[in-house]
Amino acid sequence: MSTAQIHDEIIAPDKKKPAPRGVGHKKRFFDEPGFAITSIILAAAIALFIILPLAVVLIRSFGIGGEGLTFDYYRQFFSGYYLTAYWNSTVAALLSTSIVIVLSLTVSMQVSRYRGPLATSYRGLALLPLVAPPFVFSLSLIILFGRNGLVTGWINNTFGTEFSLYGFWGVVVAQVLGYFPVGYMLIENTMRSLNYNLELASKDLGQSQIRTLFRVTFPLSRVGVLKAALVVFVMALADFGNPLIIGGNTSFLASEIYLLVIGQFNLEMAAVGSVFLLVPSLLFFIIQTYGMRSQVTSITGSSGRERVALTGIPKAVIFTVNSVFVASIALLFMMVVLGAFVRIIGVNNAFTLDNFGDAQGQSAIINSVIVSFFAALIAGVIGMLQGFLLVRKPIPGKRAFEFLTMFGLAVPGTAMGIGYLILFSGEPFFWTGTLWLLVVNLAFRKIGVGMQAAISRMHQMDKSMEEASSDLGVGPYMTFFRIIVPLMTPSLIAGFVYAFMTTMVSVSSIIFLVSPGTELGATYILTVAQSGQVGLACAVSVVLIGIVVLCMGLLKVIERKFGVKV
């Protein structure tokens, strides 16, 4: 199972086949106390680490736990400034989502229809932003298009203009680049499962390529597109790194929330802002969980094995757009790498390795690796356990259990981080300042990935093997370890890798939780970038990206060596 598929599956659980029920007597919850107790513990953990922090945010937004019940903060929110920021965030998120969708369509149309090194390298480049912290593109955009950027400096000198990318449009461009892979993976998956026979039929009936695309191909992909749009929109809405670095004087809600906490410790106002980030996410999550399920079946089914090549003007347009786009990704990545190896790119281009000799940066990266490893491990193992329990065991409140776990994925990191800060910094926990709080925070936001992978894997596995084991007199727990665990290993590893990659570059929630000695690579990059030290920020980014890429390479090796499709 590829990580792309995993990602697809986590986004909206596809149609669910009812779990095959054993014939004979119906099992009850406490028939196997070990599994029952495990379920209760897991449910409690989900409640504590996903639900409670969000509840605390909601409560605090009314002043409860602070100075007492009040609606003042909501009133303040609607009084103008924050509403403008909310508006800016929403419009920017809508724009970047639309652009991501269009580009995802064009790139995936090319990649899914052609083989060969060109298609492969386009795909690789398109996925590249996944391994970098989402705000890294802001850095290279400033290098190129800042007020004195390599490109803008030249343009402005030549034409006497005052152009720069700071502000609203800079944020949109950076978001498009940063969140592209997420939308792309979903849409590519849909494109790959398209039934090309319908396209061929349309062409045979004399329709042009353009008409075929708009009347057949796009309508068939609409569910995938919608899913992708929802995910990208929620991520872009919650983005605060890009606005901080390249937002200029335009205000965005997520970055205002960040500044409210970091600069004023105004938790109440920040909580109100978080509620407004949370509401659209929750709404979209409900829509995609329940609203889109019925439509999904219409596009899957048997797909024509052969690939249908594009023709005519659409082909030319699509190829051009894609080439420009992946070339920009490559260029921007190159800027980060170059920026790491020179004193100050564009100003003093002398080669240097000084940027890498930063002890604080190194320890931050080591922390990142440790934290992400354990977070991914926990997310993978708990996800697998939950998937198994949900599919095979009679657990009361299954739907709610699954829904809430999945919701952890859809929650804007900012809201989650503030919830953790309020909940765990005081009595009775006092957990802030420990690496474990960071591990738990990251892990529980990713459990849904492993769980969804495990659920679909469990559905593929016939129950007869477990029954055989049980008929041979092996107890349920031994059966779990001897039959289920080995069969689940591939999905566990896939979930682990996805979680590791994404937690390595995650910032939005943990930025509120780092403390002296537990700083992470991604947050350190943001700190350094904010003080304008682009070279240092680039160097830490390069190391971080390098580690993530290395891990992916390692995974490929494991995949080849053990024949496990990951």
């Binding site: 303040q76 009084s79 103008g80 400034y81 924050y82 403008t84 400033i142 800042g146 007020r147 004195n148 400096g153 000198n157 005052e162 700071y166 901080l244 200029g248 004087n249 205000s251 500044l259 906490v261 970091i262 600069g263 004023q264 410790f265 938790l267 004193r343 100050i344 564009g346 100003v347 003093n348 930063d358 604080q360 080591i366 690796v369 440790i370 490893f373 354990f374 491990l377 910094s425 006092f430 802030t432 300042g433 080995p486 290993t489 590893i493 780092v514 403390s515 002296p516 000695g517 700083e519 700190t527 350094v528 904010q530 003080s531 304008g532 030290q533 240092l536 494991i558 053990f562 496990v564």
Partner: protein, 340 residues
């Protein structure tokens, strides 16, 4: 099956290795002496040097988190009374005064600071000033010339229309550097006139930055023509060859002590005391003087590149600033930050 078993074995081996790494990481720290955790406002590059020299001299291991002045303050306010750090190395003097009033600090009577003049430390040993710094204006020579702008020579010049959109200022909501600027203007002009000034000045600001050193970097990179920042942020970059210059405004500049303190109930009290002793020692002062224009030990020469700087330093009132800080920042936020 055997492949899978090997695979699982491999994964657990990797896990063990990583646990090992994590543990050896911590044990390394304990080998080198105990760990002191700090908040600092010192910028990333100077703190790297200061911390590693302090580690060498004391045998302590120093973990720190860099936060700008007000970020650090809001963090302390949020954490009180369970501070996540043992101490603070580098903070605003007026915040030290506020911290004493709030009861956040642990006094320590350090013998190493006896030679430092009384005015630079708290009489009860709650905090010690190790260096002081001042605001200044910096400009990018190339950019100023290319745009045909005059070199500003005073604070008053900065409201001139020719600089529209060309000035970068740290955000007084997060940065002590910016707050010092705001407080200085108020002490020069008087409150009412100062707000008129800020209104005109705000029109010229192209960007607010959260960090006090960032304007120096942005001006050095040629992103903005003029920046308001602090002394060593500019002089370091001039030495590194950036095309920028410093201007000491003719009205004079405010200055602030940079202080070190220990939090109440610090987990590593001995370590923190050791660090405070070191910072006040001659060696510590020498090392600080490698990074700062002026340190508080009169016998140790800092990097100051300005002759007769004393003539420009205004008699800045930190006590007044501490008392009025909250109110001034609130008004700044409602006037320019947008939330009303």
């Amino acid at each position: 099956m055997s492949k899978r078993t090997t695979l699982i074995g491999l994964c657990s081996a990797a896990a063990l290795l990583l646990v090992g790494c994590a543990e050896s990481g911590t044990s390394q720290q304990s080998q080198g002496g105990d760990t002191v955790t700090l908040y600092t406002t010192n910028n990333v590059e100077e703190m790297r040097d200061l911390a590693s020299r302090a580690e060498e001299a004391t045998g302590l291991n120093i973990d720190y988190l860099q936060l700008s002045t007000e970020e650090g303050w809001s963090r302390i306010m949020g954490e009180a009374p369970n501070f996540q750090a043992d101490g603070q190395w580098g903070q605003f003097e007026s915040n030290a005064i506020r911290a004493v009033e709030e009861g956040f600090l642990e006094p320590y009577d350090s013998p190493a600071w006896e030679d430092i003049p009384d005015q630079f430390r708290d009489p009860d040993g709650y905090w010690y000033g190790w260096s002081y710094w001042f605001n200044l204006i910096t400009y990018n020579e190339d950019l100023l010339e290319a745009k045909g702008l005059d070199i500003p020579t005073s604070w008053a010049d900065l409201t001139d229309e020719q600089y529209r959109g060309e000035i970068v200022l740290p955000d007084p909501g997060t940065s002590g550097t910016a707050f010092l600027f705001v407080a200085t203007i108020m002490q020069i002009m008087g409150e009412e006139e100062a707000w008129d000034y800020f209104e005109a000045f705000h029109e010229n600001v192209g960007q607010y930055e959260s960090n006090g050193s960032a304007p120096a970097q942005l001006v050095g990179n040629g992103e903005y023509a003029i920046g308001i920042t602090w002394d060593q942020a500019v002089f370091d970059r001039i030495d590194q060859g950036y095309p920028m210059e410093a201007v000491i405004p003719s009205e004079g500049v405010g200055y602030s002590l940079d202080v070190v303190w220990m939090f109440k109930d610090a987990a590593n009290r001995e370590g923190m005391e050791q660090l405070i002793d070191y910072i006040g020692s001659e060696e510590g002062m020498q090392n600080s003087a490698n990074q700062r224009s002026m340190v508080t030990d009169p016998d140790v020469e800092g990097l100051s590149q300005v002759d007769d700087i004393e003539d420009y330093l205004l008699d800045y009132d930190a006590q007044w600033a501490a008392e009025n800080q909250e109110e001034i920042m609130e008004q700044w936020r409602t006037t320019f930050g947008g939330d009303s």
